[in-house]
């Protein structure tokens, strides 16, 4: 026969009966200890995972920053000195939403047979979003010359590479300059002058001379003017002794030719070297050329006439190719 106990009676008996109570307490303690250990390990693992997630988030943020770092370098120009120092100038612009710090600029120089590179540390170039700045820095590349092709790039502190775009107007400037001449040479009209001889082999008032297009008829004179090498291939040009300027007077009877003047080496004191040594004009270099060895003769009918002067240049490019050019460039008035 089963006696059904009320719920209150069951609770009373459970409390009053101490049998097996220690087992309950022991089990409870064991469960608590295990839960404590398990929770500790779980929480610790969780904290480690949090650290890892933070590191991942930090890396992702860095990558996002790196991708959002947008800077432009343009209008790059290169000027080479004789000692191989390449002066790089460019405009920098931060077109991204983050500030940009530049750390290093690299320059690479190359021609047909040679290449080299170097770098320079740049400092104090930090651009806020939207900021622009100009950079001008020197990088030494031993053996470089103005005939080389150059490229350069900047490294940012975040590790991005910003290529320097060459000056867009460089070509148009070249051609504009070449409009003053034809081909590889540009002639500076304002530098034209003539010299009088104070001795058989010495020019007076050298190098200033007489800056005019009016020249004395019948005299032994010399001419000087500046030429700039704008060879599109950026090669130096070497001029040999046949380079000359010659004159003719179309309005005079018979259109007689006037004198011819050959290129010459002139010392700073105005003395003319008896033996000509070849003159080299590097790319973008400007030099005063003197044509001092007069040949031919003045004709009487050329007095007080306007004559045309042609420049005949002969030599070779840096690559070894021949160079020859006829430049009809100025007019002179031979007064008497």
């Amino acid at each position: 026969m089963t006696i059904r106990l009320s719920f209150r009676e069951k609770i009373r008996r459970l409390i009053a009966d101490s049998k097996g109570f220690s087992s309950v307490i022991g089990t409870t303690f064991m469960v608590l200890v295990m839960m404590f250990l398990g929770t500790s390990v779980f929480l610790w693992t969780l904290s480690q995972n949090t650290l890892y997630n933070e590191a991942v988030r930090e890396k992702n943020q860095l990558e996002v920053d790196r991708l959002n770092e947008i800077a432009k370098a343009f209008d790059g120009k290169y000027t080479v000195s004789d000692d191989g120092t390449v002066q790089v100038s460019a405009e920098l612009q931060n077109t991204g939403p983050l500030s940009v710090q530049f750390t290093t600029i690299w320059v690479y120089a190359i021609n047909n047979t040679w290449n080299s590179y170097n770098y320079s540390t740049v400092s104090d170039i930090n651009l806020r979003p939207g900021d622009s700045s100009a950079i001008t820095t020197d990088v030494t590349i031993i053996g470089s010359s103005s005939s080389n092709s150059f490229s350069s790039w900047l490294i940012t502190e975040r590790g991005n590479v910003v290529p320097v775009a060459p000056a867009a107007e460089e070509q148009s400037i070249q051609w504009a300059n070449l409009a003053e001449g034809i081909g590889s040479l540009a002639f500076n009209f304002s530098s034209f002058r003539y010299y009088e001889f104070i001795d058989d082999d010495q020019l007076g008032d050298y190098p200033e001379g007489n800056p005019t297009f009016r020249v004395p008829h019948g005299e032994t004179i010399a001419f000087g003017f500046e030429l700039t090498n704008y060879n599109p291939l950026k090669e130096a040009i070497t001029f040999d002794e046949h380079s000359q300027m010659w004159s003719y007077f179309p309005a005079s009877p018979g259109q007689a030719n006037g004198p011819i003047w050959y290129v010459a080496n002139v010392n700073p004191d105005g003395t003319i070297e008896p033996i000509y040594s070849e003159i080299i004009l590097a790319y973008e270099e400007t030099k005063l050329f003197v044509f001092a060895k007069q040949g031919g003769r003045w004709e009487n009918q050329q007095q007080n006439q306007l004559g045309a002067v042609n420049l005949l240049m002969f030599g070779r490019f840096e690559s070894g190719l021949e160079y020859a050019q006829n430049i009809p460039f100025v007019a002179i008035f031979a007064y008497s």
Binding site: L51, K59, I155, E157
Partner: protein, 169 residues
């Protein structure tokens, strides 16, 4: 308590063996429990250490970042100069191995003895790159690279990160 009962408890012999066996059993259970507890703690501690070590290594590796500023191959000297910068967020980045491969991944040379130098050529004393530090590696005796061909260089750091760069000679 009644003194009579106490006297009976102390002088009564009945049930003594059961008490003793219970005490021994309880002691044994407690001892085993402590042993198990200690072992569990030891194991969890070892797990913690291993996990922590692995996590630290992973985090350090995540923070590493090397960029290639320039790679130049000198054909006359058969040397490859690799210019690096540490732009990550952790110091002491070492270079363990450098692989040079073709663009299709065929190995050309493996370099495991690496000397880190400053850009000016002087050796870096601690042979690592700290944050923002620049350094170069010169790999010599690298023959057979042809002009106008594309090659890859892979730098493996001491923490196990790899960084790749493709260059054309």
């Amino acid at each position: 308590m009644n003194p009579r009962k106490i006297w009976k408890l102390l002088h009564g012999r009945r049930g003594v063996s059961a008490v003793i066996s219970n005490v021994i059993l309880t002691g044994a259970v407690i001892a085993v429990s402590f042993v198990v507890l200690a072992w569990t703690q030891y194991r969890s501690s070892a797990y913690n250490d291993e996990y922590s070590e692995a996590m630290d290594a992973d985090i350090a590796r995540l923070k590493e970042r090397l960029v290639f500023e320039y790679v130049f191959y000198d054909q006359s000297g058969s040397t490859l100069s690799v210019y690096l910068m540490n732009c990550g967020t952790i110091n002491d980045t070492t270079v363990k191995t450098v692989y040079v491969t073709t663009s299709t991944g065929e190995p050309i040379e493996v370099f495991s003895s690496i000397t880190l130098r400053y850009f000016d050529g002087n050796e870096i004393p601690d042979q690592d790159l700290d944050r923002g530090e620049e350094g170069k590696i010169v790999l010599s005796s690298l023959d057979g690279l042809e002009a106008d061909e594309s090659y890859s260089v892979r730098v493996v750091t001491g923490r196990g990160s790899t960084f790749d760069h493709t260059f054309i000679i």
